[in-house]
Symmetry: C2
Subunit: 190 residues, 2 copies
DNA sequence: TCGCAGCCGTGACATCTGTCACGCCTGGTC
DNA sequence: GACCAGGCGTGACAGATGTCACGGCTGCGA
């Protein structure tokens, strides 16, 4: 519904044609190729592939296509990963609607569009301090699983899970796993 | 942005006029009165007041105004509370866009519009089994606070917090507080 | 009047979590 | 070759968490 509504919004602009819409991240590249898309507008939260993953594939498949990433959550880590995947613009959904068409026009002129507040937050935060294993364990702990369950799922001993989790708690500055998950989510580290 | 996009979508329909838009739940009633609104379209997730709370106030202030509640999350508890607050229709955002205008027309004809799958889930689930205090404590635990912190915030002893939390864990069928929070959220009990 | 549900508390207990110290192994980089 | 970060593990310990069995209080409906 939101996608169709945004399409309607863009369709009202005289200089923009919405030539294709897909509901899943893994259909993005095929649709872009079939319709010779000039600008792709990608939501991060999508079934199949995330918008960030889809951006990476699309950049490889059609380097000339401009990419605008759109998201509900203005997490610095999202911005970072989107730009690393080759996005030309990064918008949050609670920005005014006028910015959407404006961003499409600007990326077509070769500009990059980023919310300056978010850019500052992303830079101030530094890179993701979690190691790959710490991320895995923290992500597995997010749903409330106990250490032994996490260990079984990741083929680790219960003590090792505790150690990784402890490290993640330290690095996030949290006081327990629940807080660590929340903080890592907010920063886009998961 | 999403609100303006949905307004654009509805504006494309010949028989629907979008006469007002507000960004906050606590501005709904005033706007409805100022513009003699026939149908109000309310998102649940809003700053100020939730769409459900706003629906309750609007129903009291202008009983004739039809209310369509729109939400990202199809939680049975949301549906239940929305209907109790006097909503005439309940839509989830991942439904096809055509349902939106259709729902507006149908509530104007006096019909009620509810996704049958969601209605079944809400009925199958039964009422919220959590007592008021159990809800408070569970909500306070959601951000990862320790028992002592929750106790201070709610003016309870640490042992009492443990007891309520234990009861909430039993009733949700969870294995610890984190799972209990997740389950209660999914069912819309918080 | 009685019973019951809900609210608030205590105490005791087993288990889970979080921290720390320590070990081993691997694949880089200097 | 030496060093180091990261992955994986163990053992020990304090503190947090979850459960249970109690108690007292209030308000409400039978």
């Amino acid at each position: 519904m939101v996608r169709e509504a945004l399409a309607a919004l863009l369709g009202l602009e005289g200089d923009i044609d919405v030539v294709a819409q897909v509901a899943r991240g893994d259909e993005v590249v095929a649709a872009a190729q079939a319709h010779e898309v000039e600008v792709a507008l990608l939501d991060i939260e999508m079934p199949g592939l995330t918008g960030i993953e889809a951006a990476g594939l699309l950049r490889k498949a059609r380097p000339g296509t401009k990419i605008v990433v759109l998201t509900t959550f203005g997490r610095p880590g999202y911005l970072r990963r989107a730009m690393e995947s080759g996005a030309d613009a990064f918008l949050v959904k609670d920005a005014p609607a006028s910015q959407l068409a404006e961003a499409v026009r600007r990326v077509l002129r070769g500009e990059r569009v980023i919310d300056p507040t978010l850019a500052a937050a992303a830079l101030a935060e530094g890179a993701n301090p979690l190691t790959s294993r710490e991320r895995d364990v923290l992500a597995a702990a997010a749903d409330g699983s106990a250490n032994t369950d996490i260990g079984k799922r990741l083929h680790l001993s219960e003590g090792t899970v505790r150690n990784y989790l402890s490290a993640a708690i330290q690095k996030t500055g949290a006081r327990n796993r629940t807080e660590a998950v929340r903080i890592a989510m907010e920063k886009g580290w998961l």
